[in-house]
């Protein structure tokens, strides 16, 4: 027998001594040891040991187990007491409680709203089953050393992908561009937005069919309608197999009805889908584009084969256009796949590289949300620590009657838990109230995910985290007090006790100020761009899209009749709308052209009256006119075009476009037709009378708009009975270009205001606390002759210093970030010092206002009242 084996197992003994009542220790250990040695005499050591273990475990009985210091039931009572004390504290200090809970509730509401918004953004397009395998085939092309990225691709690409890379794709579908089209059933016509796809497209986007199948586009003369469109066209009648005419020229038959696509889908608002084959055969220029790699006028969607990888396929097809067409090599075309996972959030390109997009806004708001919550938590921490001196005596007494540190920490954490839960309940109410407003502001249809377990898990962890985060500092700070000093009355927080508080206030104001400055700069940028000279007049200018071919023949009649009616000043037609460039073309040549220059221009075909309708500003030469018979080949250039071509005397110059000789008759000031943030592209305006898409009408400024519109409508109805009279005001359309920025600006300003509100709430609480704490000091100062102004200055000074520090931090911070933001825009405002000075003064003013109320109140107090006690 070895020495170690004839002793009872140490671990078992240690276990026994851990749980055994100490007054039983001697006898029990004696008994067990005696038993062990008795066993050893006629049993193996192992058996004896096992038996020892058995005996030890058999002492795990209620009578023998040591009572823990605080048993379970006892704890429960204590927590009940904590909550009761916490509740009473809240009721006793109603002002503090309102500030605390209110501030926190606002913070939580903002954070939850932002959280829901971010969730909605991240869930975009996920309703499509093949979300992660769907892609759009796109291309990068380089013009004059600028690498651009576009969704439009040439038709032969489809055939090449289908034949050469058939293993990599499960489905491919060509598409045109989604746009408004007239759908007519018998006499009724409505305009709906739709597109033309190939047969597999409904399968690719896992379209939810109500009637018919996803194979509904097999027959070229078929159409799939969304539920709402079917209802609008047929009411309660059976839509299936009914004939429909698209744009007054294509006859189709309904072969399916699908559920309206959700808002959170890239294809949302697609009211109908018709067959690509029908579209491709409907117009001559599309028929002839099958072999033309240079006609980038279409879209192509692809669904990857199950074993294919997005990146490697994208890499594989990169050079397909470059290798297929010699003519196109100059543009260095690179074909690639843009996965659906990136469509919504990452669609910005610069020099052929993905540079984010909407994801930046998501990040921005996410960060703002977290910051607002932190601001609210800081309030809570500051108030609790500030009030700790008041509660120091309570803590002292609790300590002397036996509270240990852990219990005090528990107490303060449960109080903070109580406040957070209350704030959360208030926040839920606020959120339900604010959600419609928020949806309106953010242009969303967000609903609270009540049934989503994820939402509750997040909410719960949110409560726990916030109570721990907000309650941690007071809990650990208060529990570290020394009871003797506290009770002796000598407790005075040291010189640096308020330092963390001050740091937190500085953080609060730095964040709020940065948000405010950022918002102001966003607004300035929008205003700056809005006031950019656009080179034409949008006042009283309306435009109409010609949704049916009927318009083409009636254009002249319409014009004469409208002019005669006196309701309009001028009428013209154009190939594209005033607020967009619809076509870009190459193939231009002129004498003295730099051979290295890729002559690519935006081209707009217009009737000669176009200039007078939009009131463009002639800089050189003359406007187009019907008077000159030679004007059928006349063109107008914009300033950007003159600069682009590098010519001195443009008037009278001859320009050759694909073998047609054109001559320049005038130069106009740049007309902002596309993005108001980007420079104006070189543009050529040519004269044409046929194949126009838009009618532009300048209303008579001397007549009321509603009257004129009514007159115009009657003229249209008389001439073109089938098409509904639908028009848009150009200034509205132009205003839409600012929508995204204005939305961001509005949301950001709401958050910034809330941030500063929360910070001020905190400051208000702190100021009132400081004033209260210094009541006696103020009383004595008054007795000794201090004036109200002096006292006010004394009390406000501390806070003003903090805000000034915040300003010096916030200004460089916001300057840095806003310069990055502004660099996204080519036409941008410059940040001037006014913004900073004004925000700084504003912040100081608000601070003084907040603090002064308390300071003046304290300074006006009668010293007799504040000194008579004690």
């Amino acid at each position: 027998m070895k020495a170690s084996s004839d002793k009872p197992p140490k671990l078992a003994t240690r276990l026994l001594s851990r749980f055994l009542r100490s007054d039983l220790a001697e006898e029990v250990r004696g008994d067990l040891e005696e038993k062990f040695y008795a066993d050893l005499k006629y049993k193996s050591a192992l058996k004896a040991k096992l038996n020892y273990w058995y005996q030890v475990l058999n002492y795990l009985r209620p009578f023998a187990i040591r009572k823990s210091k605080a048993s379970h039931i006892n704890n429960y009572d204590m927590f009940q007491s904590y909550f009761k004390v916490g509740w009473r504290n809240l009721l006793r200090n109603k002002g503090y409680s309102v500030i605390n809970i209110g501030g926190l509730a606002i913070g939580i509401t903002v954070t939850i709203l932002i959280g829901l918004w971010v969730y909605d953004e991240l869930m975009f397009d996920r309703s499509h089953e093949s979300y992660d395998r769907l892609a759009q085939v796109m291309q990068h092309q380089t013009f004059n050393n600028v690498k651009g990225t576009e969704r439009s691709i040439p038709r032969p690409l489809e055939f090449a992908l289908r034949t050469t890379y058939s293993n990599d794709f499960k489905y491919l579908s060509m598409a045109s561009w989604t746009g408004e089209n007239l759908l007519s059933v018998g006499e009724t016509s409505i305009s709906k937005s739709g597109n033309y796809f190939q047969v597999d497209f409904p399968e690719m986007i896992s379209l939810e069919m109500i009637k018919g199948t996803r194979q509904g586009l097999k027959d070229p003369t078929s159409i799939l309608l969304s539920e709402s469109t079917a209802k609008a066209l047929f009411g309660f009648e059976e839509p299936m197999n009914q004939p429909i005419r698209i744009g007054n020229r294509l006859d189709v038959k309904v072969t399916g009805v699908y559920k309206d696509l959700p808002n959170a889908s890239s294809f949302s608002g697609l009211d109908f889908m018709a067959s690509w084959e029908l579209y491709a055969n409907s117009q001559e220029w599309i028929k002839t584009s099958t072999e033309n790699w240079g006609n980038n006028s279409f879209q192509l969607y692809a669904l990857l084969a199950p074993n294919a990888d997005m990146k490697s396929v994208s890499e594989k097809i990169k050079m397909i256009k470059y290798n297929s067409s010699e003519d196109e090599r100059r543009q260095k075309p690179e074909i690639f796949l843009h996965p659906m996972t990136d469509w919504h959030l990452r669609s910005a390109w610069k020099e052929g590289e993905q540079v984010g997009g909407r994801i930046q806004t998501v990040w921005l708001f996410g960060i703002i949300g977290v910051f607002v919550l932190i601001l609210a938590c800081i309030n809570f921490m500051n108030m609790s620590t500030a009030r700790s001196e008041k509660r120091a005596k309570e803590v002292g007494i609790r300590m002397t009657i036996g509270s240990v540190k852990a219990q005090l920490i528990n107490q303060f954490l449960s109080e903070s838990f109580l406040v957070v839960v209350l704030a959360f309940v208030v926040a839920m109410g606020l959120m339900i109230l604010c959600l419609p407003l928020f949806n309106d502001l953010a242009d969303k249809t967000i609903a609270v995910q009540w049934s989503n377990p994820f939402f509750w898990v997040i909410s719960f962890s949110f409560i726990v985290f916030t109570s721990l985060f907000a309650g941690s500092y007071p809990a650990f700070y208060l529990s570290s007090f020394h009871p003797v000093t506290v009770l002796k009355g000598a407790f005075k927080a040291g010189r640096f006790a308020s330092l963390p508080r001050k740091v937190l206030v500085v953080i609060q104001f730095t964040v709020s100020l940065t948000l405010i400055i950022g918002t102001i700069i966003v607004y300035l940028q929008i205003q700056f761009t809005k006031s950019r000279p656009t080179g034409y007049s949008r006042e009283g200018l309306i435009m109409m899209y010609m949704k049916s071919t009927e318009f083409y023949d009636k254009l002249e009649v319409l014009r004469t009749e409208l002019m005669k009616s006196g309701a309009v000043e001028e009428v013209s037609a154009s190939s594209g709308p005033v607020t967009a460039i619809w076509s870009n073309n190459g193939g231009f040549n002129w004498s003295g052209k730099d051979p290295a220059l890729q002559a690519e221009f935006a081209t707009v075909r217009v009737t000669p009256e176009f200039g007078r309708t939009v009131n463009w500003q002639i800089k050189e030469g003359r406007d187009l006119s019907r008077e000159f018979s030679t004007d059928s080949t006349a063109i107008i250039l914009n300033e950007a075009a003159v600069k682009f071509m590098g010519i001195k005397n443009p008037i009278g110059m001859e320009i050759v476009w694909d073998n047609t000789k054109l001559h320049v008759v005038g130069v106009i000031k740049n007309m902002v037709m596309e993005s108001p943030y980007a420079p104006v592209k070189q543009t050529i305006y040519t004269v044409d009378y046929a194949n126009m898409n838009w009618i532009n009408i300048k209303l008579n400024p001397n007549k009321s708009t509603s009257e004129s519109i009514a007159t115009i409508e009657s003229v249209f109805k008389r001439n073109i009975s089938s098409a509904p009279f639908e028009y848009t005001f150009v200034d509205e359309e132009f205003g839409d270009k600012f929508e995204a920025e204005e939305r961001v600006g509005k949301l950001a300003s709401v958050f910034a205001v809330l941030a500063i509100l929360i910070s001020c709430l905190g400051l208000f609480g702190l100021a009132s606390f400081v004033a209260e704490q210094r009541t006696k000091e103020i009383g004595i100062r008054k007795v000794l002759g201090a004036s109200v102004v002096q006292l006010w200055r004394m009390l406000s000074k501390d806070f003003v210093v903090l805000v000034v520090i915040s300003c010096t931090l916030a200004i460089p911070l916001s300057l840095y970030y806003m310069q990055i933001w502004l660099s996204n825009y080519e036409y941008r405002t410059t940040i001037t010092w006014h913004v900073f000075v004004l925000s700084g003064i504003g912040a100081l003013f608000i601070t003084l206002l907040t603090v002064s109320y308390q300071a003046v109140k304290a300074a006006l107090m009668n010293p007799v009242n504040s000194l008579k006690s004690e």
Partner: protein, 112 residues
């Protein structure tokens, strides 16, 4: 109905304490229980019952002397109290009275 307040196991343990006299401590009682009944019982279970009997007032205990095989630790010696003795007797009497009312067996019964 007489209230015995004594379970079967408790009664046996109480009797064993009486039998062992001066040597009645948890380990020895558990050993004796095994010898007498052939059933094993853990020291903990025995101790627990002893503790309960003491609370009921049937037993009293005092720390006794120590021995080497116990690592020099003392043992707790249990002794029956007057109440304990009376309860044991009552329990026996009660059972005897029951036996006597059972005619098929009572004739063969020898009561010492």
């Amino acid at each position: 109905m007489i209230e015995t307040k004594l379970g079967e196991f408790e009664e046996v343990i109480l009797l064993l304490v009486g039998i062992l006299g001066e040597g009645a401590y948890a380990f020895k009682i558990a050993e004796e229980f095994k010898n007498q009944t052939g059933r094993t019982v853990s020291i903990g279970a025995t101790h627990s019952t002893l503790d309960r009997l003491e609370t009921k007032g049937f037993l009293k205990s005092a720390m006794g002397d120590s021995t080497a095989e116990r690592g020099g630790r003392r043992k707790r010696i249990f002794t029956i109290t007057a109440l304990g003795k009376r309860v044991l007797k009552e329990s026996r009497d009660f059972k005897v009275s029951l036996w006597q009312q059972y005619p098929a067996l009572s004739s063969n019964l020898q009561i010492g």
